[in-house]
């Protein structure tokens, strides 16, 4: 009897030691937390639509990874960095969340990415825009998926200058994001031989753009760059049409425009706008198939690049867990960098050492009302911008842990 119990104990011990070497999922569940703006200015372009996209990724993956269930939770950070940080801390410490997805608003991104880095968790940024997230403020376990300011600025800025729009005036939202976008675009414009004539910083958020538009008009610049987002861009475009700015020969460049913005503006007002986007639902059969599935769950809307990016990032994360045989953040992060990204969202996408997912971007022009044949038929694709051309080259990296390696 005694011997038997000793044997049992020994077996148990061996088993206990052996388990970590086998497939390991902490706490017996992989928990995905979608943290974004659920009710504020960005809720149409990410919000509940991103949660739905993540749920679809989990369903398409089979609901289980390494034999353990996958759960999705979500929260509203209200565009406040302190609320975002609190949720992230609680999710990781109490609710055992393994990965935080989406993250609009650069201020919140910075706070949450730091927490994830310190507590060894993965964060997948889809809606956040600033290029510093994979540069000065990069994290070994932080990934940036859909787009960034650099890619948008380069795509739209270079294209407009090439078409003859070589003098620019900026309407810039007066906060970190707007300044960053203006700076990136001004660089792209100057590099391609254009000239920046001036800029005006408007309060955020801003209802009435008429006075700023008048200043832009007085500058006689060929292109008015809108270094703002969401409701501000919508109002600026709408009022530019009202003041006859486009009819008088100046062109508008929307630097960060989501398809949900175009939907709310209507084609009559938005036509002709040149935008850079990471995804368009109507690009090919694959994008259409996925988007229609998403649309059926979202009252007939079509996904923005941010929402589609959430699906792609989550899917890639789950594949990396499968390949790594564990959900431990560093091991998963390593696998994420090794496996190429191939889905409806990105073809041969590559996750770089600094956490940037490099994939092809699209330069698009908003269609005229008479060219739009069915609901949400909004973009004419002008050009596919290869990923390596769109994103900031890794040779210019300011990422501290990469610089140390060198």
């Amino acid at each position: 009897m005694k011997r038997l119990s000793r044997f049992a104990l020994a077996t148990a011990l061996v088993l206990a030691l052996a388990v970590p070497a086998m497939a390991e999922v902490s706490d017996g569940v992989v928990k995905i937390g979608v943290l974004n703006d659920m009710s504020g200015v960005y809720s149409d372009l990410c919000g509940p639509g991103s949660v739905e996209a993540v749920k679809m990724a989990v369903e398409d993956f089979g609901g289980k990874v390494l034999g353990k269930p996958i759960e999705v939770v979500s929260a509203d950070h209200q565009n406040k960095a302190d609320i975002g940080a609190n949720v992230a801390n609680k999710w990781i410490d109490v609710d055992k969340v393994d990965v935080i997805v989406d993250l609009p608003n650069t201020a919140v991104c910075l706070a949450v990415q730091k927490i994830c880095q310190d507590k060894n968790r993965i964060n997948l940024i889809s809606t956040g825009a600033s290029v510093i997230l994979t540069n000065k403020n990069c994290s070994p376990t932080g990934f940036h998926w859909t787009y960034d300011n650099y890619a948008l600025a380069k795509g739209t800025g270079t294209a407009m200058v090439k078409e003859g729009g070589d003098t620019w005036f900026f309407l810039t939202a007066d906060y970190a994001f707007g300044h960053d976008l203006e700076k990136s675009t001004a660089e792209a414009v100057t590099k391609s031989g254009g000239k920046v004539l001036g800029s005006v910083r408007h309060p955020f958020p801003c209802n009435d753009f008429s006075s700023f538009l008048l200043q832009a008009q007085a500058s006689k610049a060929k292109v008015i760059g809108l270094a703002n987002a969401g409701g501000d861009t919508i109002n600026a475009v709408k009022q530019a049409a009202e003041f006859g700015i486009v009819q008088a020969g100046q062109r508008l460049a929307g630097l960060l425009v989501f398809i949900s913005d175009i939907h709310s503006l209507g084609l009559k007002t938005a036509q002709g706008l040149v935008v850079t986007t990471g995804f368009y639902w109507d690009l090919n059969d694959e994008t259409r198939a996925w988007s229609k599935k998403w649309s059926a769950r979202m009252n007939g809307r079509m996904p923005t690049m941010a929402q589609a990016g959430c699906y792609s990032a989550t899917m890639h994360y789950l594949k990396a867990i499968q390949a790594a045989g564990t959900d431990e953040a560093k091991a998963v992060a390593k696998k994420m960098r090794e496996i190429p990204v191939n889905d409806f969202f990105a073809k041969n996408g590559k996750v770089r050492e600094d956490g940037r997912m490099v994939h092809d971007m699209l330069l698009a022009q908003v269609k005229k009302p008479e060219d739009s044949k069915y609901p949400w038929d909004y973009y004419k694709i002008l050009r596919v911008i290869p990923g390596d051309e769109a994103y900031k080259p890794i040779s210019e990296t300011e990422c501290p842990y990469l610089l140390e390696k060198k």
Partner: protein
């Protein structure tokens, strides 16, 4: 050609005109608020939500019933005003004998609920309302391009403000209103139905908010938060003008619009705060507001 601190006069005139246009919105909105506060002693925090409702009713009328802008300009204020009357009858009325604070809390709560419902129904980015065909295009005034619609907004707001002021200051109905504000018990003793007058006044004030909403629909995006963005500024206007002062709120509305317009030229970053700076200064020097009577 003279220049004022590096700004050419053309740009300056343009900005002043734009300021007046924004001032027109402030004036119509603060007029309704001042009216309601004057007679009901209620700080109507739903005013922003009712402005938003006005814009949405116009949008719904156009998209579901095909009713055009001109009819909406009459229908939307009536519909939203009726909703206001219902609100007054069923809820606000019960709070008159209590402190101001209760009315404020009730109206604030209602504003949040209304906004939340519309956010759920229509999302945050809002809808586009087209400028009525007759008023599209604009005139080149030499120093700026004036969209016809904006000119119409200033003209129409002036008419509405002046009309309201005339009714209150020059007619018998207005005199009842003013008397009711001073001493409701005494006026009731003369056989005038004061509670009904209060209900109708509230309905009219709410109707004015909705009217401003319809006016704003073609310029701004019709969206659930449009009222919340506006209401704080409008409250500042009322406070600066003097709570309850009809003329004060109208004049202050236009004046502050002008001031804001000028700030956008000289120091755009401060254009969101300049009104509140003025408010703080006025409160320090003249606590009852520019046109208010010290009690």
């Amino acid at each position: 050609m003279f220049e004022l601190i590096g700004i050419p006069p053309q740009a300056l005139f343009g900005q002043m005109l734009l300021g007046l246009i924004n001032g027109a919105f402030y004036a119509v909105l603060s007029l309704g608020l001042a009216l309601i506060f004057g007679l009901l002693n209620v700080i109507n925090f739903t005013h922003g939500a009712q402005y938003m409702l006005g814009a949405y009713v116009a949008w719904l009328l156009l998209n579901f019933l095909g009713i055009n802008y001109w009819l909406a300009l009459i229908l939307a204020p009536v519909v939203v005003g009726a909703f206001g009357i219902l609100l007054e009858r069923l809820m606000l009325r019960k709070l008159y004998h209590l402190d101001h604070l209760y009315g404020l809390l009730l109206t604030f709560g209602l504003a949040l609920i209304i906004e939340g419902v519309f956010r759920n129904l229509y999302g945050i980015s809002g809808q586009s309302y087209p400028v009525p065909p007759v008023l599209t295009g604009g005139y080149n005034l030499g120093f700026m391009f004036l969209p016809l619609y904006r000119g119409w907004v200033v003209f129409f707001s002036l008419v509405v403000c002046l009309g309201t002021w005339l009714v209150i200051e020059k007619t018998k109905l207005g005199s009842y209103l003013r008397a009711g504000t001073e001493n409701p018990t005494l006026v009731q003793a003369f056989g005038i139905n004061v509670p009904r007058m209060i209900t109708l006044t509230y309905g009219f004030g709410v109707g004015l908010a909705a009217l401003a909403g319809v006016l704003a629909a073609p310029i701004y995006q019709v969206k659930p938060t449009m009222g919340a963005d506006m209401i704080i500024v409008v409250f500042a206007v009322v406070v600066i003008g003097g709570m309850g002062s009809i003329m004060g709120s109208v004049v202050t509305g236009f004046m502050l619009g002008l001031l804001e317009g000028l700030t956008k030229v000289f120091y755009p970053e401060a254009s969101n705060t300049v009104i509140f700076v003025v408010m703080a200064v006025v409160l320090l020097i003249k606590p009852a507001g520019l046109f208010g009577k010290a009690s």
